[in-house]
Amino acid sequence: MEWFIYILNGLYYASTIFLISLGLNIILGVMGILNLAHGSLYAIGAFTAAWLITSLAGWNSPDVLSFIILLGGAILAGFVGLLLERTLISPLYNRALEYQLLITFGALLLFEDLIKIVWGGEAYYASKPFDILGKVDLSGNIYPIYFLLVIVIAIVVKLLTWLFLARTRVGIMLRAMSLDIEMATALGLQINRLRTWAFVLGAALAGLAGALVAPTTPVLLGFGMEPLILAFVVVVIGGLGSLKGAFIGSLIVGEIRSFGIVIFPEIELAILYLIAAIILVIKPEGLFGRIKS
């Protein structure tokens, strides 16, 4: 039954990566911008959650509060996303690609230091939500309930995002915009507000991912760099701008990593890049890519 745990591990890993790459892909699909500062938003979510949890630790607060706090990470990251989009990104919609990439690169550098200023350089340990949930026995294998919770949250978020985009006004408008921005403009949709929506949604998803990871590991500077790269890999594999791509891509990355570690422990990192490179060579727009080459 070990393979069952391996699959679960893969799912857990896929869950966090999915949330980040989903946000990255929404921004890419709706706005056509590859947000290099996305990892920083993830880090902001993680720091917010970790900081709130450790600050509350002394207060003897009810356990359930520490779970609600995780949402705080998503909210703050969303808010930072709002500021970022309004101030720095919105002036660049009509500018060349290199400027859009560089401004998000600049934002990334700036955020790294802002995080340092706000939360200091030390690592935050906020394992309370992880600890209080304990573990469960799954047919002889012990598994932390928190990881199961993260998987469930990711599935719920996927469903909610899907519902949001399929059923709500803003969601449908966002889809219309990503399909044909000129027509959307001519119909009188509030393009700028929708862009902000998309960016805030993407940022909040990244923040949520960070907040969910925070209880399982120390949160420290540079926290967002590795997930950003993995989200790139997911986006490349799944397809630029595709929500389905983010989902399938994350599953592929998560499970390949999980089984890769068991079967080929020596090359756990390189194998992901290798797969991404092969897919790019064969199908450069990714498995479900919508933005055409």
């Binding site: 340092k116 350089g121 394992s127 990881f147 399982t216 590991t217 420290l220 500077l221 540079g222 068991v262």
Partner: protein, 441 residues
């Protein structure tokens, strides 16, 4: 010697006739070069202390180490400084990667003109920075990093010293991992299966290879059932832990430290790893303090030498009591091994300067300090250290098993099962590579 070493600076300084704005500091340097013997400059002695002040290694190593440097500088200054010169401590962050550290060290020596750099927790930083000592002609003392390769050549016997001006005032990771193997042989003589999970860089790779070699010699019947190499700062070890459980070793070797050790231990607790095997932490001494009482009992812990706040017993070795008390008073925590390492570094430098200075009567040159440092032996809160001809210090090795007591909010080393391996048992002779030494057993 002196001439060649300072040539570069002289050329640059002397040639700067009428040069303008970017001249900063060259003249000052020139004056220093022509300093006469027997004089002791009035300005403070500049000591750069480089430790992780940010990032995951800050809390467990960098901050305690830097705290100790600060505490001891104040203490030395209060007692009159080094040969009357006050210490001006420049605390620098070791974060930012190897390249950033190479640049920083170069800046400290060439631009800030420090007298000595005491620093480096990361083995990678040590390997990259120590060569700069000879290149730039300044003393660099590695205080905490463990890679045995730092002072070893490519084959035995190797010529010593490797660096004329580079030192390390602590023992190598050879001690940690040979000691672990000895512990396992003593306490688990019948095991059949071992595995390793180590961070994917020099520290992890070297630690495992020394451990594996030692185990092959000491317990040839033991089989390695797997090795895992997660990158540094991995946040999700579940896949590795499940794979470990699947491989079912009796003992897992790990050189994890800091955040990685915490993440791994927490997640391993969640997945029930400790119910099925024992984990041997090669430099695990600070980890139980970081995790608290959740840290599992009966795991093997190495102390990076004989460094432990409860050993040597404070009643028997007052220096340890004094150090622990002062540190605890000032920072509210028990000193961990990086604190002891910092002590060794700054007091070795002080002792070497005083030893060399007492001969000439003035402030010694860099080379004279280096000469004095070779063969130096001083007393520290952990006992005695000796800096050998290879410019590397050697110490005893302290190991134990975790045990929860009512007295501390974290598991301490079970006093019943503490092992101290004498210096010559866990350190190779001068000029012999650790691996070759192990193979010669």
């Amino acid at each position: 010697m002196e001439k060649t070493r300072r040539d570069f600076i002289k050329i640059a300084g002397g040639a700067a006739i009428g040069a303008g704005t970017l001249l900063s500091g060259c003249r000052e340097e020139e004056e220093k070069v022509v300093e006469k013997r027997g004089e002791i400059p009035k300005e403070p002695v500049k000591i750069a202390a480089v430790s992780f002040l940010t990032g995951v290694a800050a809390a467990p190593f960098g901050i305690p180490g830097n705290n100790t440097f600060e505490m001891l500088s104040e203490k030395i200054n209060a007692d009159g400084g080094i040969m009357g010169r006050k210490i001006e401590l420049l605390s620098k962050d070791e974060a930012g990667g190897v390249d950033a550290q190479v640049k920083l060290a170069r800046k400290l020596i060439l631009d800030d003109k420090v007298d000595v750099i005491l620093g480096y927790i990361s083995s990678a930083d040590c390997k990259a920075v120590l060569p700069l000592s000879d290149e730039l002609g300044d003393l660099i003392v590695a205080y905490d990093c463990g890679t045995q390769e730092l002072m070893e050549g490519s084959h035995s016997p190797f010529p010593v010293p490797k660096y004329e001006l580079g030192f390390r005032t602590a023992a190598t990771l050879g001690l940690d991992n040979i000691g672990l193997a000895l512990m396992i042989k003593k306490y688990f003589p019948d095991i059949k299966r071992i595995a390793g999970i180590n961070p994917d860089y020099a520290w992890g790779r070297d630690s495992w290879s020394i451990f594996e070699e030692s185990m092959k010699k000491l317990m040839p019947q033991v089989e390695v059932v797997g090795t895992w190499w997660p990158p540094l700062f991995t946040t999700d070890y579940t896949a590795h832990i499940s794979a470990l459980i699947g491989a079912a070793p009796d003992i897992v070797h790990t050189a994890f430290w800091g955040g990685d050790a915490v993440t791994f231990t927490k997640q391993a607790l969640g997945l029930g790893l400790f119910d099925k095997m024992t984990v041997a932490y090669s430099r695990g001494e600070p980890i139980p303090q970081e995790i608290g009482k959740d840290f599992p009992e009966n795991q093997i812990i190495g102390c990076a030498g004989p460094h432990y706040f409860l050993y040597p017993p404070q009643d028997k070795w007052p220096l340890n009591k004094q150090f622990v008390d002062e540190y605890q008073k000032k920072y509210g925590k028990y000193p961990t091994y990086p604190c002891y390492h910092a002590y060794q570094a700054i007091y070795s430098y002080k002792a070497a300067v005083e030893k060399a200075g007492s001969l000439t009567g003035g402030w010694p040159t860099v080379d004279e300090v280096a000469d004095a440092m070779t063969g130096l032996a001083i007393q520290t809160p952990s006992g005695n250290i000796t800096i050998r001809a290879d410019h590397n210090a050697i110490e005893d090795g302290l190991f134990g098993f975790t045990k929860l007591t009512s007295k501390y909010p974290f598991p301490i080393l079970d006093p019943e099962r503490i092992e101290v391996f004498p210096t010559f048992v866990v350190n190779p002779p001068v000029g012999i590579r650790t691996v070759d030494w192990i193979n010669s057993w």
